[in-house]
Amino acid sequence: MEFVVVAQALTGALYLLTTLIIGSRLIMLARRTRQLPEFLLGGALLLGGILAGPLEAASVTLRGETAPSLAGTLLLAGKIAGLGALICHAEFIRRVFRPRERWAWLLVAVMVSCPLATFYGFNAHGAFATSPIPWNWFWLDLSVRIAASTWLAAEGAIYYGMMRRRLRLGLADPLVTNRFLLWTIAGCLSIVMLFTSVPPMFLDRATAGNLLVLDLFVFSIAGVGVSALYFLTFLPPESFRRWIGTTSEAVN
């Protein structure tokens, strides 16, 4: 169990470092290009990965310890950062993949409204003070996060299919085409991370130790996978670029 906890801490640190590097790079890119998509994605990574996740995790840890009021404050700060991340995330997908569709506007509005409703629910139950988390509102919050990641992965998969057909006609760059595949897999692994982040909040170490070990193991593997895929997507090394180019030429 201890080994898995250490491994989880290391992979968590790797994930934080990755989101910090990639998020900062995207914000700097946005300053240079003055384009909104890179700003939104960089904002989503920094707010979600660097602030919301760690703050909420710290809140859960402290809640069972001796500082419930600090836990409540951290939860509130984490929720605010998480809302900012969700707005950036959903607006990035809408703006990039569905700029003309009205249903996408509606979906973004629903995705933003649900966390706002959970703010009310959490506050009404005193979760931002000293009371425990209200689980009904927690599930609503988690469902929206999973929905946002699912939307992201689905749009990536659809566009990857289109890019593959373009590639056969010489209408697409192999590296950019591959970027949509990496993005889709990273989106799927993010969903795994969201699902596996829940059991540690419910399961007891003493009675469900093996299940917790398995959960933390899967969470860690998914975290490492997302980190590696983000690097290959947003900071591809020269050797990877060459490999994709060579593979594409061989296939064609």
Partner: protein
């Protein structure tokens, strides 16, 4: 939701150059674009040009249009003078090209 000017122009050209009616020509172009992985709402002149050379002749041939290659070549020759405006939206492809440096 509006389709791109390149799509509209190609549909009009195809309707004039073949016996296909408006509905059939639009359907044929949509199928050709889908085969090429392109979006009718965002297709550009360069992409339409490749579709005319590589995909559309086969689609027209399968609909019993004779001399499909010649028709497509003639339309392709006129594309540079066509009043086609590029989309004002960044395509996902353009965004992802930028994001990866």
């Amino acid at each position: 939701m509006s389709t791109s000017t390149a799509f509209e122009w190609l549909c009009g050209e195809l309707e004039s150059a073949t016996e296909l009616d408006r509905l059939a020509s639009r359907g044929t172009v949509r199928i050709a674009l889908k085969q090429a992985g392109l979006d009718p709402n965002a297709a550009t002149a360069d992409q339409i040009s490749v579709v005319l050379q590589r995909v559309l002749p086969g689609e027209l041939g399968s609909r019993g249009i004779e001399a499909a290659d010649g028709i497509c070549s003639e339309i392709a020759a006129r594309i540079s003078q066509a009043p086609i405006e590029d989309s004002t939206h960044d395509s996902p492809e353009a965004v992802f090209r930028r994001l990866g440096g």
